[in-house]
Subunit: 504 residues, 2 copies
């Protein structure tokens, strides 16, 4: 289907509202709160934020920026450099933004990705002045059809004072019909969300808004930033192998079948490698119920391994984007894109009994997981959806390489320097060394498994030393609080957690 630009605005009344990005950006005032589309570099608005950043060259102002998750197109970088942010939430993944957050230049609120919509609905967060959302088209009834992500766009559009739409003509019109927009309603007045299978469609194909709220429409023509994922390497392949071994053991124990359970995986190279591992495996009729689809899911669809995938965004490499968009009709019936509140909803995750696979920064002897803070202080990206998924899944799996920085960092530590997932929420830990199945185990039972199956040999003895000393003091969860963070301190002082360089 080919259309000229104006045909993408099917409501004639709205055609008069086309403006330049600069005009749209000029409406934004100091102190305002913006709700932007965009989730893990997909479906973000591109033109208005860029124009807004340009205004900052000759004007002083600050805005709050709420999104779905991380933005692409260097928008988060530009925002951070321009110094126009007061508050940013609920997730980011940009190196410059990260640096400025940690310097305290602006406020970053790290939220469970399913929670932001509830806070907006309950009017706890700053009210949204402008929702700015990317679309492939606006229908005659004023329904905004999103592009490669849905994110928080529905709740932003519903609760914003006014809406700016960016119609991105580089995004394929074939996406129309793949989205499923469902509004849960107010807490206390809502019904069950009627999803019982990943493929259930429960809503409508776009964001229905009062057309009078659409203040301006901007045309853009720019593809999403391609994903920065690196292909599987030997280490991530080994981790994938361990995980597949674990799934086989679960099947042997009668706890899973060869179609496993709907799969969720966080963004990142490890998760992508794990999914790649399924390609060569015996598992079939797999389904995905996740937030982000990366390249590997499409490979699995092509290979006939995955029969359906539900998500909130698609974040693909350059090559994969070209291939998928060129033949999108092939994929559309096997995909659905939902608001992040639905893709990450505890109700659905628990009902479907997902297998969730997310990345840890570090884990401790007892299975607590740090997903966000380097050395307990510096934000990496944010918790994202990992908490939504881990707490409610059938299997909460966390993956991490056992060491980092050429062995100077152990990802298994005595006490994690920040806790995002508690011992109550972590089922399986996987490193390239092996996996530890912590389900139903008391803290003291977990220690040996985590040390022997997950920690790098370089650090095993040192972990045992800590534990044995801790054990002298007794307790449900033995610790030597004085030394709990000594490895982190050691790294700060000497550049290594490695005991041979340790001062103690």
């Amino acid at each position: 289907m080919k259309m000229n630009n104006f045909e993408r605005i099917q409501n004639p009344k709205l055609r008069h509202r086309v403006v330049t990005a600069e005009q749209a950006a000029s409406w934004i005032e100091d102190g305002m709160t913006l709700g932007l589309s965009g989730f893990t570099r997909a479906g973000d608005v591109k033109a208005v934020p860029t124009a807004l950043v340009k205004r900052a060259q000759h004007e002083k102002f600050k805005v709050n920026v709420f999104t779905g998750a991380s933005l692409g197109s260097d928008i988060d970088k530009l925002f951070a450099e321009a110094g126009i942010l007061r508050k940013r939430l609920p997730f980011q993944a940009d190196a410059t933004m990260r640096k400025r957050i940690n310097e305290g230049e602006f406020l970053f609120v790290d939220q469970h990705l399913s929670h932001t919509a509830e806070y907006i609905r309950n009017r706890v967060l700053e009210p949204i002045d402008f929702a700015i959302v990317e679309a492939i088209t606006i229908t005659g009834e004023g329904m905004i059809i999103p592009t490669t992500s849905v994110g928080n766009s529905l709740v932003f559009a519903q609760h914003a004072q006014e809406i700016i739409v960016e119609i991105n003509t580089a995004q394929p019109l074939a996406l129309e019909g793949v989205h499923d927009l469902y509004e849960v309603g107010q807490q206390g007045e809502r019904n069950p969300i009627p999803i019982t299978k990943p493929e259930d469609r429960i809503g409508v194909k776009g964001i229905q808004v009062d057309v009078d709220k659409i203040k301006g429409i901007v045309f853009t023509h720019q593809l999403d930033s391609p994903s920065t994922i690196v292909p599987p390497d030997k280490t991530t392949q080994t981790m994938a192998k361990h995980l597949i071994h674990f799934f086989r053991a679960e099947i042997a124990a009668g706890r899973l079948t060869e179609s496993l359970a709907p799969l969720q995986s966080g963004i990142g190279s490890v998760a992508n490698a794990v999914f790649h591992g399924f390609l060569e495996s015996e598992f079939s009729h797999l389904k995905v119920y996740s937030e982000v689809l990366q390249d590997a899911v499409f490979d699995l669809i092509d290979a006939g391994k995955v029969s359906f995938a539900s998500c909130c965004s698609m974040t693909l490499s350059d090559a994969k984007m070209k291939q998928v968009f060129a033949h999108f009709e092939k994929y559309r019936e096997k995909l659905v894109l939902r608001p992040q509140e639905i893709s990450n909803h505890p109700e659905i995750i628990r009902r479907l009994g997902l297998i969730s696979i997310n990345t840890a920064l570090e884990v401790d002897l007892y299975g607590n997981v740090n997903s966000t803070h380097v050395l307990g202080t510096n934000m990496m990206n944010g918790i994202g959806g990992s908490g939504d998924f881990a707490r409610h899944s059938r299997l909460a799996i966390f993956v991490t390489k056992s060491i980092a920085k050429e062995g100077n960092i152990s990802s298994v530590v005595p006490f994690v320097s920040h806790v995002d997932h508690t011992e109550h929420d972590v089922d399986i830990i996987v490193t390239e060394q092996g996996y530890a199945d912590l389900r139903g185990l008391a803290p003291r039972e977990r220690v040996a498994l985590i040390i022997e199956k997950c920690a790098h040999p370089l650090y095993r003895e040192k972990l045992w030393d800590y534990y044995k000393e801790a054990l002298k003091g007794g307790g449900q969860t033995p610790h030597v609080l004085e030394k709990a963070f000594s490895w982190h301190s050691n790294f700060k002082k000497y550049g290594t957690m490695n005991p041979t360089v340790s001062a103690d």
Copy 2:
């Protein structure tokens, strides 16, 4: 309604299975796993566990004991003293048991109270040999009618090899009809749980089992242990006042109405005092959707303030038990008792948008909460339902006195020594000093509120000192890891966290 004992077994086939507690206890073998009824001292089986403990005087054996939550009638104490436990889960609250857990005598698995049923259904935990459940009666169809709690009895009975029923003739028959037993089914195959209001009844009045699985029936006549709650004192009343002030502010802001939202409160004196605070307040048409009902909820029903209360157990003082049981017909239409999986289910908690009030042991500068571990090592009781509720509520409120041990312990510390609830899950912290509303705030914004509104004046300056030093290192969540636990260390060494006695 009066019955003789045998009339309480309405299925004639089952009347032949009446045995003594000693006979029933004799069936339990070394290495077995038992699933016992009982939740917060209510509805626990009393005779068979006591007989089992007696066997330990002349016999060596170990069993795993799974329950709903804590047991009454000193059963947990007797178990611990007898040394017959291998593993205990998911919660306890007995001083002797606590001591033995911390000495490492047996394993304790501290679980979210809604999770245990899923682990059993997914066959992750040890298979249950005997479900031993308290009942008021068994119907003709072999339906076991529970007593003052439901706990995990449904899932235990369904998955156990065999069942022993204790018919407790001291528990009033008037309880029949108050329970609502609903089985969610396997993950991946289940439907939405059709509760949209606290008063919705969705199941049947008892636990339907295959009567052939009932191996024995024991008669007992013993009331539940009365609750050990202390009446509101000046401090807990002040906390209740702060909370009511917060609710008023929410109403003024248009975020709540005078009927608030369905209320949950953890067990304990503070929570009870908070509920007592509602008695003199303007709030009305309140509803409760909680796990345990304590005395105050019945006072609120009597005062016409609470129109309905859903729970999983009723834990009352001696006097209140007498009053409530003598007139139970007055309360029955205003109450429902559900399995703990339903009372604590994330799906329902999020849908109803509960206000949840739970107790913290300590909180830190950034709003992380420790609910379980004294000085990071010794188990207090367990996380209980606090995680189920806090993560999914509209308002996750944690209450704690600002100091303990005559001021030698500050409940507000630089870094909590164990994390049960992360910064992502904590909305409001209340102490007798005031309350901190953390919703939508970045970590650095939270600090001043927590110090100035919640910490005791004795510790405020010291907390500021820590934060200011931490701030020099920057970060999303500034910390001085070397000193993060120095207050705890100080307490261990000098018996006080108080800076005037500090060594540093």
